[in-house]
Amino acid sequence: MSNRNDIDLATIIKSLNGNAIGKMNQLSHILKTEYDIELNFCNLVGRRWSYFAGEKDLFRATKRIKLNNSFGIITDSFLVPELEEELITLSKQLFDLN
C-alpha cells in the first residue's frame, strides 16, 4: 500500500481512460487498492445521495461533500485538506462541472 502523502493525482488522472463513469470507477479503484482511500460519486436529488460510480463495497467513508446541487462525493474524513481539495477539483472535472 502506497503512502497517502505521495499521491500524484495529476498522474493518476492522465492514466484514466474511457467515459466519465469509467474514469470514476477506475479512480475509486486505484485510490482504494493503492492508497486505502475511499471515494464514491453520487447523484443528488432532494435528500437522496444516489450511488453513481465508484467501488461498490466501500462503506468506511462517511464524509459527504456537495460539488453542486446535483453531484457529490463521499470520501474519508481523515484526508488532509490539500488532498481533499484536489479530490474535489478532480471530481468536478469528471462530472464536467467546471
Binding site: 432532494g46 435528500r47 437522496r48 444516489s50 462503506f59 462517511t62 463521499i74
Partner: protein
Amino acid sequence: MSDLNVKDWVKQVIKQDEIDKYLVDGKDFIDEETIKQELEHNKKPDKSKIRDIISKSLEIKRLSPSETAALINVKDEELWEEMYEKALEVKKRVYDNRIVFFAPLYLSNLCVNNCSYCGFRTENCNETRKILSMDEIKKETSVVVSEGHKRMIAVWGEHPSSDIDYMVDSMKAIYEVKEKAPNGPGYGSIRRININAAPMKTADLKKLWEVGVGTYQVFQETYHKPTYRKVHPPQTIKGNYQWRLYALHRAMDAGIDDVATGALFGLYDWQFEVMGLLYHAIDLERQFGIGPHTVSFPRLMHAAGSDVAEKSPYLVSDADLKKIITILRLSIPYTGLIITARENASLRRDLIQVGCTQTDASTRIGIGGYNEALKKWKELQEESDTQEEFKQQFVLGDTRRLDAVIKELTEMGIITSFCTAGYRCGRTGDKIMNLLTNCIEGKFCKLNAILTFREYLEDYASPETKKAGVLLLEKEMAEVSKYDWFTKHPEIVKEFHKLYEKISSGKRDLYI
C-alpha cells in the same frame, strides 16, 4: 392536477413502447406453465435438500425458482420450525435486530379503476370520495410526525385529480412540516417519503425522482393472468397486466433505484404468487442488477362495497401467511419485508419473528383519518379504533398507537429504527445490494437504529417505553463494543459515538 377529462386522461396513460422494451421475444417474465411445473417437480423435497437450500439462504444468496418451489412444498412441521428459525437468522445477518417504522398517508380515494376487491373502485357508490388539499396534507402529516414517525408511505388512487403534479406537490407539502416534539429538544418531520402509486410512464417517474422519492412501490396484486383479468376490468388502466408488471422497470430507467413489489394474497393460490414475486425479483436483477428494496404481502380483507374477500377460495390463513413470509425471507434474503397493521397485534408479533424488517403503527388509512383519530385520542385520552369503512380501502387489524407497539417490541428485545441513512449516504441501487449481500449494511442498520431510537426515547416515548428502551439501548451499545466487525472498524465506531453524543445533547437527524 390534469386539465384533461377522465376519459382522455385514461387514454394517454399507457405507453406500449414502455412495455415492449422489457419483453424478451415478445413475452413477459411470468410464464404460468413454467411456474406450475416448478411447483409440481419439487412436490416432495427431502429434508437434506431443504437444509442445503436453507444454507444457501444463510449465505445471503437469492434462491432459484426450483429451490423456492421446494420450500413452498415442505409439509414436515418440524422442518417448518427450522425454517422459521433460520428465516429470522437470515434477517438478522442482513438487517440486524431492528424493525423500521413508518406511517401510511392516504391522500386521495378518487380512482378511475374498478378492481373488484377494493373499496376505492370507481363503481363503489358507498365510498365517500375525498382528495386532500395541500393544507390538509400538512395537517395530516403534523399528526403523524407528532406521534414520532420519521418515515411515511404516501398512497393515492389512480385519477387525473391526483396525477404526477399533485403527487409531487403532496410530497413537497409533506416535507415542509416540522413540529416541536412533546418531550425533548427535537422536532418531528418526515425524512423519507416512500410511495405506493399507480404505474406511470418514464417521463412522470423522472418527476418523482427529481423530488427525491424514497421507494416506489407497485403491487402486481396477482401474477396469475386469468385471475388478474377477472378482478381488473379490461377497459380500465389497471386492466393492462403488462403495464403494471413493468412499472418498476420503468422506475429504474427513470433513475429510481429503490423499488418495491407486492402481491395481494387471497386473490389466487399463494404458492403461485410467491413464485411470481421471485420471478419479479429475478427479472429486476437481470435487467438492472438491482432487486426489490422491499416486498409486501397484504392479505385480502373485507373492503366496503366488495364481497371478493368473502367469496375467495384462496384466502390465506394465519399459518400460511407465516409460511409465505418465511419463504420470501429465505428466497430473497437481501430484501426488506413489510408487515402492516392490516394484521392484528398478536399475529404481527409472531410474524415479525420470521424475518420482517418494517412495520407501521398509529396507522389510519381513511382520507383525513389522522386528524379524525386525533380528535378521539384527545377526547378519550386513550386509544380508540377510529376506522371509517366507507373512507378506507380496507379495514385494519391493529390500530394501536406507535408508542404502544414500540414498547411491545422493545420488551421483546427488538430495537425500533426510524433510519433514513442509506439513501442519504450513497448506499443505494447496486451498491446497497452489494452491502446487503455481504452483511455490511446491517452493521449500519444497527448503528442508525440506536441513533434514531435514542431520539425517539428523548422526544416522544412514554415513561414506560423510555424505561424499557434505555435498557435495550444499553444492550445494543454493548454489542457495538464487542462484535468482531465493529472492533475491526474502529473509525466507524468512533464516528458513531460522536453522533450519539451529539444526539444525547439535543442535536437531531444525525446518521452514519
